[in-house]
Symmetry: C2
Subunit: 413 residues, 2 copies
């Protein structure tokens, strides 16, 4: 864990309202860390719908495999999250560990094991001793209260320097519904489920299939548009839980994602995802600059995404931003290596609104001093205009600093 909070951390933390049907509790189980919470139990009322998207890694963790299998039921009563050990690449032991954790949680909450969802984050390859949850989860189930989402977000942190929460309140039909979210993630962040762990809770009455469709669509331009280092975790997990409690005060029951009454909800839901995803980029390991990369004028949106990600994952671009250098030559390089249609002689590039390259060469009006000053800002927007079509996309990343290398390489030296 890093000792100092990222300078890019949000200045304020929102008040997180209660969501009817969700109760939370955290504990110090001593999985790996000392003197901090490392287990979160969320207890959901009966009838809570669940949806999830996961890492596309070919070597997923045991909890990811567990959740994928249980998602078919569409119902959730408990979520157990631990930090410090990812229970990934732990073979049969890992599968036994998830089964035992689910058994303990099911007993504690009074539900079926197939209604228990699990997420683990931390070291890969170390067996997770699930017997540590024995007793702990029983106490947590008793202590669980509608409530402290910030404490929950803290319990799931690993190398994160700040807890990540977001909330939105919106009308569904004539009823007010709430969406709360939390996330953790700082390294090993790449598309195909950007954050390692994120959980969304709402009291909206949305059926599992509709919730799954919302989540799958919402993740595309939020979590999947964030990269820290291009490394995809084996544990990436995003789960959404909808208790349906708002039906009691008049919210309509939604069974299809295309239901027009969902319009405002979808917007708010996606804003919560986008907010959390941006916080993940703001907490990138060693990050000192938040970088937004927009590619416009591409042949298609998919092509724009691929080029934007090529820029976002380029160590040379990221180190240049760390050095406050508007090195557009490296941006050209990253456009070129993406393998997507691009015409050098139509390419324009701006940093924080100042155009430095125009139609394939240095912009004649480009003022070095002005750009250098602009590069000192903590947030850098890179705009690449390809001039080929209408494809446009935007991704978020952070700079690559010596601190990243120190966090990931120094701990043994």
């Amino acid at each position: 864990m890093s000792s100092s909070v990222s300078p890019l951390a949000p200045k304020t933390v929102p008040d997180m309202p209660v969501i009817a049907g969700i109760r939370l509790a955290t504990a110090e189980a001593g999985i790996r860390y000392k003197n901090r919470t490392d287990v979160l139990l969320a207890v959901m009322d009966k009838g809570t719908a669940v949806a999830g998207v996961f890492t596309r890694s070919k070597c997923p963790s045991a909890p990811v495999e567990w959740c994928r299998a249980k998602l078919k039921g569409g119902k959730a009563r408990a979520l157990v999250v631990n930090s410090g050990n990812a229970n990934a690449f732990t073979g049969k032991t890992g599968r036994a560990s998830t089964a035992l954790t689910a058994k303990i949680a099911a007993k504690a909450v009074g539900c079926s094991e197939s209604e228990v969802f699990l997420a683990s984050t931390g070291v890969i390859g170390e067996p997770l001793d699930a017997t540590k949850f024995d007793g702990v989860l029983g106490r947590l189930a008793e202590a669980a209260e509608p409530g402290d989402y910030l404490a929950a977000a803290k319990a799931i942190m690993t190398t994160d320097t700040f807890p990540k929460v977001a909330t939105a309140t919106v009308k569904l039909g004539k009823a007010k519904v709430t969406i709360n979210g939390m996330a953790k993630g700082a390294g090993m962040i790449a598309p195909d489920m950007a954050t390692m762990l994120s959980f969304i809770f709402t009291d909206a009455p949305i059926a599992p299939a509709a919730l799954q469709a919302l989540l799958k669509s919402g993740v595309e331009d939020t979590f999947n548009a964030v990269t820290i280092d291009g490394d995809t975790s084996t544990s990436d997990t995003l789960l959404a839980f909808a208790t349906g409690a708002a039906a009691e005060h008049g919210a309509p029951k939604i069974s299809r994602a295309s239901d027009p009454r969902l319009k405002a909800f979808v917007k708010a839901f996606n804003q919560v995802l986008a907010n959390l995803a941006e916080q993940v980029a703001r907490d990138g390991e060693g990050a000192r600059k938040l970088i937004e990369i927009t590619v416009e004028g591409a042949k298609t949106k998919a092509s724009a995404r691929k080029i934007a990600m090529s820029i976002a994952n380029s160590p040379l671009v990221k180190t240049a931003i760390a050095g406050e250098d508007a090195n557009w030559g490296r941006v050209v390089m990253a456009v070129g290596k993406a393998g997507e249609p691009a015409d050098r002689d139509k390419l324009s590039i701006s940093f924080n609104g100042i155009r430095v390259a125009k139609r394939g060469a240095r912009d004649p009006d480009y003022d070095e001093a002005q750009v250098s000053e602009a590069m000192k800002a903590p947030e850098i927007a890179i705009l690449v205009s390809l001039g080929l079509g209408k494809g446009r996309d935007r991704v978020m990343t952070c700079d690559l600093t010596k601190e990243y290398v120190a966090i990931n390489g120094d701990y043994r030296s």
Copy 2:
């Protein structure tokens, strides 16, 4: 330019023999650097065959476009290389600059402009003032001698910390032929032409089409199997020149790459390419460890390559090696994110011959102290056994250190 030589530099530099038909000269033209050579002119005798492979970047430099066009003729009389300015992303000015350089060189050497090959390396986006070559190239053409390959390799360096040369002598028919090579490259190194610039010279009488086939095939497991940072240059250029002078003392004229008499030559040619490619990895910016990654048991060789490159380009794997940490969990992560067939429960991983993971979990016989000791070596071999098929491949890279970040990010701060 870095002030200290990479600790991974070869301990000895080979004596570079003369190659009949090739004359070299270098000069200080003051393109960007002061008090060092920055221009190389190689003059070839009439009848010299040329072949080339180039960056696959969609935004190639002006010299790359020039060489691609001129390669169709198959004949070369002059090679002009400058360091300090890549003449990339310079628009019409760039094209005018290559045309003017070729004109000056053609006049100096007494050949057609279409027999002049150009390569530039250095900063992107700055116009290259070709008038600086006026006078310089004329003097170089007069001064050129069959010669000093090490001096030539020094003139083409940018952030390289040592000049890179390799040589081999081999029988072609009953005649002795020589192959000399040089390369430069330290950052912005990735597959699809790994090194930024490399030139191979031989006196073997090989026709252009055959030479092109040899080069294309040879590059696959040498330069294209090296990555420093996954960033592909806009300037990557590998040219091979065959003067044919060895025909005078009995070497057979070769018109097809499949000619069985070429067998020993091909082996030696590929060794020179492999030697130069490895030197590029040894001079990776900030490198302190040379990393060889072998993937075996993949479905195909192409699949093994993709997985090996995913490991080689992972910042988390590279920082772990920098920290002398046998962090096989990160290797699992990189295998998983490659998107190629892999079965977690069949996966085994070794570091420098010590197996740390076996069939999807930590190897029970794995001794942490022994592995920690092994990780102190300057050369680290990672072996990943997938257990799925017979596909096998090997790539070279280096670690990711704070020095890399400093070289690429600090120069403005």
